[in-house]
């Protein structure tokens, strides 16, 4: 009972915070609002920890029903929460990292006059994200799914006066919506097939079902996931989403919301296991995304854009893991990525804060002396994402790559290329920002304590995060994997069957090449600070990459322009030239009929009298005939 209350409190607290803040947003100061918002999410974090402690993995999970929601005929969809290993993991990530980012935002947003609104939206986001991960059926997850989309829209367009930001916000929402079409299709399909949307029931019934419909269902789910998790072809919104305040980028567009797609896939892992075809598609889309996004990251000059492409690329890795059927590896990478990517974004935010809003790395440099804590924590984040040994990223990424090798060495090679690119662009970023000479003209200053404390906490987590799922190789027992397995009834996650020797060799290759990459980057960027010139001067292929493979232009030409053209012309041609005249035709017909009949009304009384007489005769004859 107390646990049920706790479970309900987890999403309720941020919601309450959001409502209070939204209604009192004019009256609260930035700090009070921030404090309240942080307290709410921290409260949710505490509740999550309490739930986690009292959770018995052996029982598999519980459903907490709050309310009847949509129930009509044979459709019963309650508002219910599910507490099991998977949702607990996600809850801890969302509330834990969420608390840190809320705390950080107090410092980051303290000068913004709309800070209370910001915190309200941040809290609302936390609520939605928690609904997403805690929902006991697809439709509850969908509440969160759409809710995070809305909050993402609001927060990206937080500074609403800039049209580009608004455009970015709309783009994010619409692209997410395209994914949602897939999600809804999957839901109606599953509902039709199983008569329910409860995860527990579907997973129980579905395991062992051999049904081609499952391929369709999982493909639809995956379309939903590509939208939310920024995979090919729906990834272009994420880099643009960096228009929002940096804590938003950290929380929504790195640590939590974008992992919703991975979460959903893991949630429905039973279904995906029934559809190997979908798994293959996921695998290859993940790989392609990882590589393309990483390559774009190589040439970006905006500190947040680099991190954004890095995020897309890392999400690609997670999907590769999903495609390989190693759901625990994906979740492990979700966790560690949440740590170090949040750290990196917050660090970037701290840099931006220090430089008074500057985001172009060509105007940075030599900052390590000015902002020491930021530099140190950013450095840890960088080596974590690059996967230097014993960092959290090392364990999680290597696990995925080991699984990839188990499937195919080619896949491993592709992922290795991606990892090397990741190392290169991350160290390029690190060196250009913190090393060399300062190239800007602001006065860098260290951020306040509310901002640096989250950095330090996240730095520690980025280092030790690997312990969560320490592989056998290092004396661990894959704790996270076993924990998560309790959530997915009926299947066991794929486990690694490579020999230890092979694993050592793979690790050695990776680590060596990564170190080589760091050395090259050091030479190019730390010692000389090689800056990219104008795009027009670049060779074709390089320019293509610098222009983000021209995806945005492609979409604009393929979809946005024709859509606008269609909208204009449907109105001016189809509607005004065809439809309206047809309607007018009806009126004209009545009009001309009236005109024709009007002639009869000569106004001549004799004629009318004669007509009357004629009518009388006709009427009489008709009566006579009918008798």
């Amino acid at each position: 009972m107390t646990n049920d209350l706790l479970a309900a409190l987890v999403p309720a607290l941020p919601l309450l915070g959001a409502i209070i803040l939204a209604s009192l947003r004019r009256k609260l100061s930035a700090n009070v609002a921030g404090g309240l918002a942080t307290a709410m999410i921290a409260g949710a974090f505490v509740c999550s920890i309490l739930l986690f402690q009292s959770f018995d993995a052996a029982t598999g999970g519980r459903t907490v029903k709050l309310l009847d929601w949509i129930s009509i005929g044979s459709m019963e969809i309650p508002l219910a929460l599910r507490i099991d290993a998977l949702s607990l993991t996600m809850m801890l990530i969302v509330t834990g990292i969420g608390s840190l980012i809320h705390l950080y935002s107090i410092g980051y947003m303290h000068e913004d006059e709309r800070a209370p609104t910001f915190f309200a939206q941040l809290n609302l986001f936390s609520f939605a994200m928690l609904m997403l991960v805690m929902g006991s059926n697809f439709l509850i997850t969908f509440i969160g799914w759409e809710g995070v989309g809305l909050c993402s829209y609001l927060l990206i367009g937080f500074w609403y006066k800039t049209p580009e930001y608004n455009y970015a916000a709309r783009k994010a929402f619409v692209m997410n919506r395209i994914g949602d079409v897939g999600m809804v299709l999957a839901m109606v399909l599953l509902f039709q097939r199983f008569g329910t949307l409860e995860y527990a029931t579907i997973m129980n019934v579905a395991s062992g079902v051999n049904d081609p419909l499952m391929i369709a269902a999982t493909l639809f789910l995956f379309i939903g996931a590509t939208g939310k998790s920024a995979q090919l072809p729906l990834f272009t919104w994420l880099p643009d989403a960096m228009a929002g305040p940096t804590p938003v980028s950290a929380l929504i567009h790195a640590a939590t919301m974008v992992t919703a797609g991975i979460f959903l896939t893991v949630r429905s892992s039973v279904l995906f296991e029934l559809a190997p075809f979908t798994q293959d598609i996921i695998l290859w889309i993940g790989t392609a995304t990882a590589l393309i996004a990483a390559s774009i990251g190589l040439l970006q000059n905006d500190i947040k854009k680099v991190l954004a492409y890095s995020t897309v690329s890392q999400l690609g890795y997670m999907f590769v893991a999903l495609g390989l059927g190693s759901y625990s590896a994906a979740m492990f990478h979700v966790t560690t990525h949440a740590f170090f990517k949040a750290l990196l974004f917050l660090g970037a935010g701290s840099v931006i804060h220090a430089l008074g809003g500057e985001q172009d790395i060509r105007k940075m440099g030599g900052l390590k002396g000015h902002i020491k804590i930021t530099f140190f924590t950013f450095f840890i984040g960088t080596i974590a994402i690059a996967g230097l040994p014993l960092m959290s990223g090392f364990f999680s990424k290597d696990l995925i790559m080991a699984f990839a090798f188990q499937r195919s060495p080619v896949l491993f090679a592709l992922l290795l290329i991606g990892a090397l690119m990741t190392t290169f662009y991350m160290f390029r970023l690190l060196f250009l920002v913190f090393y060399g000479k300062y190239r800007g003209n602001a006065h860098p200053h260290e951020s306040p304590l509310t901002m640096t404390i989250p950095l330090m906490v996240l730095a520690v987590l980025s280092v030790v995060g690997g312990l969560l799922n320490l592989p056998h190789l290092f004396g661990g027992h894959e704790a996270m994997k076993h924990f998560l397995e309790t959530a997915a009834e009926g299947i066991r996650f794929e486990s690694l069957e490579l020999s230890h020797a092979t694993e050592w060799i793979l690790m050695g290759i990776t680590t060596t090449l990564v170190c080589v990459m760091i050395y090259i980057a050091y030479g190019r960027f730390a010692q000389k600070a090689t800056l990219e010139g104008r795009e027009a001067d670049m060779p074709f292929f390089k320019r293509l990459i610098a222009q983000r493979w021209r995806f945005d232009e492609l979409y604009r030409a393929l979809f946005e322009k024709p859509y606008g053209w269609l909208s204009t012309n449907l109105f001016s041609i189809a509607e005004q030239k065809v439809m309206v005249p047809i309607m007018n035709g009806v009126g004209e017909a009545a009009n001309s009929l009236g005109n024709a009949v009007r002639r009869v009304q000569t106004g001549n009384a004799s004629f009318h009298l004669l007509a009357m007489l004629g009518g009388l005769i006709v009427f009489l004859i008709i009566t006579l005939m009918s008798n």
Binding site: S71, F142, K161, V184, V188, L189
Partner: protein, 478 residues
Amino acid sequence: MIAALLLLIPFLTALVLVSLRPAQARPIALVSSLASLAVVLYAWISYSGGTVIHYNLNWVDAWGLRFVVGYDGVGLLMVILTAVVFPFIIGAGYGQQHDRQATFNGLLLFTQAFLFLVFLAQNALLFYIGYELTLIPVFFLLLFWGGADRRAITVRFFIYTLVGGLSLLFGIVYLLIQSGGNGDFTALTNLSIPASTQVWLFWALFLAFAIKLPIFPFHSWQPETYYMAPLQGTMVLGAVMLKMGLYGVYKLVFPIVPAGVEHWQTTVIVLALIGAVYGGVIAFRQSDFKRLVAFSSMSHVGVLCAGLFAWNAYGISGSFYQAFAHAILVLGMLYIVGAMQERTGTTDMSAMGGLKGHAPRLAALFLLVLVNAVALPLTQSFVGEWLMFAGLWQVSGWLTFFALTTIVIGAIYMLYGYQRVMLGPDRTNVTLADASVRDHIYLVPLIAVTLILGVYPGPILELLDAPVQQLLSSLSVN
């Protein structure tokens, strides 16, 4: 008693307003509509399922016209809708300065009385009489208080609707002949009409509703009329009048010509969805706020109609649930239009932009209305849309996909519209008033209804469940 009150309260008040023209016309109209609302709420509370018949009197026997009034769950929902909507419409007029207040509000109340008649009628001819009667006050509302070019547009609207009404009358007369002059719905439902007849009779009956709704090729009267009509007139048209079409299909088409429905089902769904996509795409580039709302309404109604013609429990109940949501939505959107018009003096969005800086509260209210428009979960629209999609899926996966594109299209035009009005750099150069207490009084209850019924749709779904099941089971028996 309830039926008599519902019909008489608005009708008598309207008579008083039109004939005596008291100075305090609006408050009187408002009180009258609130009284109707109270009666309806009482009816809702005391409703315990089944079809309730309040009066069953002979009127003109020879034509099969009998005064049979009552309601089932669906009818009650429509009555509730009418009762909920009118106080808002009358009240929302406080910002609108009309001359001849008494006549204006009197006409609104006449409309309400006739709408009640439509939704309460259990006799086909009585239904038809109410259906056509509603046109008369609306005609005068549009003609006297409309915007530019109102004569031509009103006459077009009138003729177009009357053409539909004529075909409906023809269909009803045919049915009356078949049933030996008994026009009660119960009697018409029991007719066994040959399938080949039903195939054409379907259109005779449906054409009027198709125009009223409107669905795709019959829609052209709608955008211009919405645009030209006075704000409250548009509210009446969009929030309740078009629901008559929906209700008519449920009452007059589904149970009476099931074979016809079966024959034309796919056609109608396809047309409705073409309309939904067509309207949505056009809405994107509209520069006028009111036209945007008009086309968005058309898009929503397309989906509504498709859901209805999914012709199964989820589709029909989803459609009616969404009908309620759509009414609330239309009111909200139009109220915002009115609020913007009041502030900027125009409905042209190219003259707006960046208003959020001046009116953050209004922007927030707009956003909350908009959330319903794009059918985010936990709003009323989502429940309706989900049920409709679940229903459509049973008909065809492709059509469901087609219908689902509207959620993307809807997001595109709604957010773009919001951006053009509220976001971006400030382009008005004048200080505008933020949402006033009055705006809050009207919009907050709407938003509350939206959210409450989005989280807890039970009471309304309960109303819909039994009659829809009954309709479907009676069809499967036949």
